[in-house]
């Protein structure tokens, strides 16, 4: 790795850390703003002043805010995320079970969207007439249709009418890969359709702009084949906006995954969060939101690194 690249990586890592810290503070405070006493909610009808006070002391809720934060943050660094209010299960264990589901869903969906979206986008940009109308229609439709509605329609078709795929349920990949994929196809497809539409549009726009650059003319003047121009030169230059969108869209997908997990009853972080929120189970909510945020921050970090590799101009000095 060249020294310029190494410095670039270190710079980016250094920037990431304050962001994560700020995020943890933000998450911590936001959750504390939840009105209503979580302990009372948790105890339900068994709540009386004595019980409430005991539980509060047990959970450290009577300490000053700063102490609570430091205790929690310290725990985070030891990968101790606290315990679920309700079930008392360690949250790190919960996350360990649920995170792979959400990650599998998100990354499979993004993977499929990229495999479909980028080639179609390139074709739409380089072969205006034939591919243009069809891909535009697909792209616009993909963006407009609400993804969970599409999911429901797919369930209607696949699980209802044709009885091909199960409408809900989950099996971990390591237990039974085939069954796992059978359960995941519909959820992944649902997310991937809208996602591929975004990627298609971005790819097409970026490619069209790049293909209009003067260096493309010079490449043609050199007699380089159109194929090489499109895939070797144009795509590389067009890649940066595309990768930017992919980075942002991972975040959007993580959000969309929440709804899809609820829809298809997948045991992922999203569904855990929705349930925890309604239960005022705030250690879980805290840990869950922070986890998702960190995933997103990491994705952005990787995106930045990829930029640097693609375009040497970006590695020198920051904007």
């Amino acid at each position: 790795m060249s020294s310029a690249r190494l410095r670039f990586v270190l710079r980016r890592t250094a920037v990431m850390i304050p962001v994560i810290v700020a995020m943890s503070i933000f998450v911590f405070l936001v959750i504390r703003l939840v009105p209503g006493d979580p302990v009372r909610t948790m105890l339900g009808f068994r709540a009386n002043d004595e019980n409430v006070a005991t539980i509060r002391a047990q959970l450290g809720l009577d300490q000053p805010l700063l102490d609570q934060y430091l205790a929690w943050a310290g725990g985070l660094l030891r990968l101790d995320l606290g315990r679920d209010f309700i079930s008392n299960v360690p949250i790190s264990q919960l996350l360990g079970e649920r995170l792979p589901v959400t990650l599998e869903l998100t990354f499979l969906a993004m993977g499929l969207a990229v495999i479909v979206g980028i080639p179609l986008g390139v074709l739409a940009a380089t072969r205006r007439k034939s591919m243009g109308r069809a891909t535009t229609a697909y792209a616009v439709a993909g963006i407009s249709i609400p993804d969970f509605w599409l999911g429901i329609m797919l369930v209607l078709l696949m699980a209802g009418t044709f009885r091909l795929l199960p409408p809900s349920g989950y099996v971990p990949f390591l237990e039974d890969p085939v069954a796992n994929l059978r359960y995941m196809i519909l959820p992944v497809l649902t997310l991937a359709v809208a996602e591929s539409a975004y990627i298609l549009r971005t790819t097409r726009a970026s490619m069209e702009e790049t293909m209009g650059s003067p260096f493309i003319s010079f490449l043609r003047a050199k007699g380089v084949s159109e194929r090489r121009i499109t895939y070797h030169h144009a795509l590389r230059n067009a890649a940066i906006p595309i990768i930017t969108v992919i980075g942002i869209q991972v975040g959007v997908l993580l959000g969309g995954a929440i709804v899809i997990e609820v829809l298809f009853a997948l045991p992922g972080v999203g569904r855990m969060l929705v349930t925890a929120i309604s239960q005022r189970n705030y250690p879980v909510v805290q840990a869950g939101i922070l986890t998702v945020a960190i995933i997103f921050i990491l994705v952005n970090f990787v995106t930045d690194l990829i930029y640097g590799m693609l375009d040497p101009r970006l590695e020198e000095g920051d904007e």
């Binding site: 936001v30 616009v140 407009s144 249709i145 609400p146 969970f148 329609m153 975040g251 939101i289």
Partner: protein, 293 residues
Amino acid sequence: MSSAAASLQARRTFGGALRGLTRRVGGREALFGIVIMLVLIAVAVFAPWIAPHDPEAIDAAQVLAPPSLEHPFGSDTLGRDVLSRVIYAFRVSLAVAMGSVALAFLIAVPLGLISGFSGGWVDTIIMRPLDLLLALPALLLAITLIAIVGPGASVALIAIGIIYLPIIARVVRSSVLITKGLPYVDGARSRGVSETAVLRRHILPNSMGPALIQGTVLIAFAIQIEAALSFLGLGAQPPTPSLGVMLNDGRDVLTLAPWVEIFPGVAIAITVLAFTLIGDGLRRRLDPRGVTR
């Protein structure tokens, strides 16, 4: 002029005017989008006169009836007319979507202008906290905010508005940065125009283009987000009608009466489509270089 020549003349000018309009909005598709949007707004505004039935009217005799003349979209589990329910629910969705974007504009545009124009530590103070908001997926943030305050349509509106603050502020700020550096701004300054006047007269109008485009795109997203929130039970609460809630309820009778599920979804899709097309057209006209997302 004879009547035949006159009507030919009229058609030519109409055709010319139409072509001019098409070009101004950025294409045929955008024109199409505008037409749909106007129709949708009309439907929302005139709902009480357009809806064929009372959306809450229960009719035990017509439970889960397929689409017919009397119920063009069919009826649901309580015999209520789906078309009327869709119209009223759509009203709410559209209001939330446009309201949230309007709210975001109200706060974020001044912030973006000041931030971009002043630069330096003012810029940092304004932008850093907003950037933090960007680090979370939109839906997640909305769910969190609603979890704090409690569910409801107005809460959803505010939550979505908050999510949009950093996006709009960034877009306005980028435009300001670009405009600020243009020679005619220096020209105005060298003529002795005051800073506020420069901001108001030169920077502001030229920074609004990309913001407008972003606004239409965000309205489209907002419809989706509101639907997702209601679907999860976090948006408009009964008795307020909501497309997302209808989509959730429709699941129960999916195989028996798919129309209960299909039509609310189609309504959302058409609305998002309209605003997306408008956004695309505007982008072609105002922001070919891509300051927006």
